[in-house]
Each structure stands twice: as C-alpha cells, then as structure tokens.
C-alpha cells in the first residue's frame, strides 16, 4: 500500500467507517430475506395506516419456508417445488367495520400509488359493491418476482394483505391454490 493511499485513507477515514457501518444492516437484512428482493413489500407502513395491529399475521420465510417445503415434498411435490422458489409469504388480516370502507378506499389508492412508483404493475383492480380487490405483480422477463394482493370485503368485514415473494407463475398459483379449501378469515383469526 502506497503512502499516498494511506494518507488518502486517513483523510477519508470517517467516510470509510460510515460506509462500513452502513453495510452492516444490509448484511443482516440479507440473513432474513436476501436484502429485501424487489418483490418484497414492507407491511409495517400499512399497519400504521390502518391504525391497528393485524389480527392475522403470517410471516414465513428463510429456514421455515425451506422446512415447510420439505414437509410437503412427499405429499405434494408441486407445492414443494413452488415453495423452493419462494423467498417469503406474508399475510396481514384486519377486521373491518362497514363504516371504515371509505377509509379503506383511500388506503387502497395510496397503496396503488406507492407500488406503481416502485415498479409494480397493476394486474387486477376490481371495484364491486362492497368489495375491493387490487392485485399487483412485480415481473421480470419470464416470471413474477412478487405478488401483492389487497382484498377489502365489507360483506365479510375483513381486509387482507398478501405478499408472496419469489419466482412464480400466475397459473401455478391458481392451480396449486385450487386444491386447498380455505376457511373464512374470521375462523383463521380465531385460531391466532
């Protein structure tokens, strides 16, 4: 190392130390979700907007996702193969009163703006009586890198946010998901 370089390092040592420190959270984040891939959505902001804690909370990622894939491999190899390619599955469920429907509409618009600014494509935007469904996808050339779904249903009194991170195809999500009979959200919430 030349003396000139050493002098340069001395002068810029504060900047260099800050640079090293700034790398630290990135490396730590990489342990949990590979440094937040592009298909990942941070739900903490939405929880603040709702002003209440989620009644249903699912966070499956990393080692747990691998274990789930292994657990399902014998019974359902196609599901296991899909889970191998996924990096995270996160769900938030919020109970909602009918009177909150208007407020959900503004949340939905804010969510759409934010996701579109981050490069997400709007796949479905359904405005039916008593029901909002927004589906966004982060795509690359050959597959979906992330799926974000927001369902507001006044009939059932629920708002559900789902974010699936990883490489997937829309038709395989539908095909595999068809096999599972789902319980209504209020029953799932009751299990929490």
């Amino acid at each position: 190392m030349s003396i000139g370089m050493l002098r340069y390092i001395t002068r810029s040592r504060l900047a260099f130390i800050l640079f090293l420190i700034s790398l630290y959270p990135i490396r730590l984040g990489a342990q949990s979700l590979q440094g937040d891939p592009s298909g990942y959505v941070d739900f903490s902001e939405f929880e603040e907007r709702f002003g209440t804690e989620a009644s249903l909370e699912v966070d499956i990622r990393g080692q747990m996702l691998q274990l789930v894939a292994e657990a399902s491999r014998e019974e359902d190899p196609e599901l296991a193969e899909l889970l191998d390619r996924l990096e995270a599955i996160q769900v938030r469920g919020f109970p909602m009163l009918r009177s909150q429907f208007r407020r959900m509409e503004s949340h939905s618009r804010a969510l759409a703006d934010q996701l579109e600014n981050e490069g997400w494509n709007t796949v479905v935007k359904l405005r039916d009586y008593g029901q909002y469904v927004d589906v966004y996808a982060k795509e690359n050339e050959s597959s979906i890198e992330g799926l974000m779904m927001m369902v507001v249903d006044t009939e059932l009194g629920e708002t559900v946010l789902i974010n699936i991170v990883g490489s997937m195809q829309a038709e395989e999500l539908g095909r595999i998901g068809n096999r599972f009979n789902i319980a209504p959200l209020e029953e799932v919430m009751g299990d929490q």
């Binding site: 190392m1 001395t10 040592r13 996702l65 274990l67 399902s72 599901l79 998901g177």
Partner: protein, 180 residues
C-alpha cells in the same frame, strides 16, 4: 641530516618494538617471527628489550584481579539500564517526531479500519449461525404449512372470484351484441 637520522632511528625502534610485542604474544606470521629472531641474535640491545618485555608481561600476569564491590556493580548496572531506556525513548521520540511522523497516523488509521472491517465481517456469520441453530418444532412446521396452504387457497379463490366478477360485469354487454 642528523635530525632525519634520529627520526628514522626512532621510527625503526618503534617498528621493532611493535614486532617484539607481537612476537611475545605469538601474533607474528612465521616469516616475520624468523626475521625477529635473527635481529635478536644479531643485536644484543633487542635481546634486552625482549627480556624486559617478558618481565613486564609476567609481572602483569602476577597481579590479582580486583573484585568489584557489590554496590559499585549495582550502580553501574542501574546506570547502564537507565542509559539503555533513555536511548530507546530518545529513538522512539525521534521516530514519531521526525520523518516517520507522516507515516504512523495513516498506518494507525488503516489498522483501525481493518479491525472494524474484520469485526463486521466476522459478526454476520456468527449471527447467522445463531439463527440457523434455532430449533423449529414439527408443530410449528405443520402450522406454517397450513398457513401456506391457506394463503395460496385464498389467492386462488380471490382470482376465481375476480374473474367471475368481470364476467358478471361483461355479461349484459355481451348479451346485447348482435349475433353473427
């Protein structure tokens, strides 16, 4: 002329005396030692000089070596150690205040950065190992599998309902279209 002779004579005497001392100490090469022995045979004066030198040497050897008193030895060693330390600190001060002053700060800064970088790099795998070593029970895995199935089922069902809603919205329009 006479002065020059004296000078030459004195110089010669000193040279021969030097040789005699060396001869007495067995320090001369064989050729020179043989030459000195020839001088000794040819000149009685040099023979007397040699005898005197031998006598002085023997007398010196007969002297007893003086023993250094303990307090003197202690003081000498103490002063020697102090001088060594002063010399070391003096050289150290000279190093940091002299030409090397421009080097040690960059070296110290570089070493500090290397230590920080090492700490950061080695801390991450430790953290990772801690996470990996967390035990997950079969119950937690089964529950997570149920949640995965529920999520995929929900996504699939919502997709079907969305498709059905679009069809419902389009149905009246399709009905009004003229049939071919």
């Amino acid at each position: 002329m006479n002065k020059s002779y004296e000078h030459d004579s004195e110089g010669m005497d000193a040279w021969v005396n030097e040789r005699l001392e060396a001869y007495l100490d067995n320090q001369l090469p064989p050729e020179e030692a043989q030459q000195v022995e020839q001088w000794l045979d040819g000149d009685n004066r040099w023979h007397e000089e040699l005898t005197l030198a031998m006598h002085i040497r023997d007398e010196l050897r007969s002297f007893r070596s003086p023993v250094c008193p303990p307090h003197v030895a202690h003081t000498v060693l103490k002063n020697a150690r102090r001088d060594t330390w002063l010399s070391f600190t003096s050289r150290l001060n000279h190093f940091f205040s002299g030409g090397w002053a421009i080097y040690w700060k960059p070296i110290l800064a570089t070493m500090t950065l290397l230590v920080i970088a090492s700490m950061l790099l080695f801390r991450v795998p430790l953290h990772h190992n801690t996470q990996a070593s967390e035990e997950v029970t079969q119950l937690e895995i089964d529950q997570a599998l149920d949640e995965v199935k529920w999520t995929l089922g929900y996504v699939s069902k919502t997709g079907r309902l969305t498709g059905a809603s679009v069809e419902d919205a389009l149905a009246p329009l399709l009905k009004d279209l003229p049939k071919e």
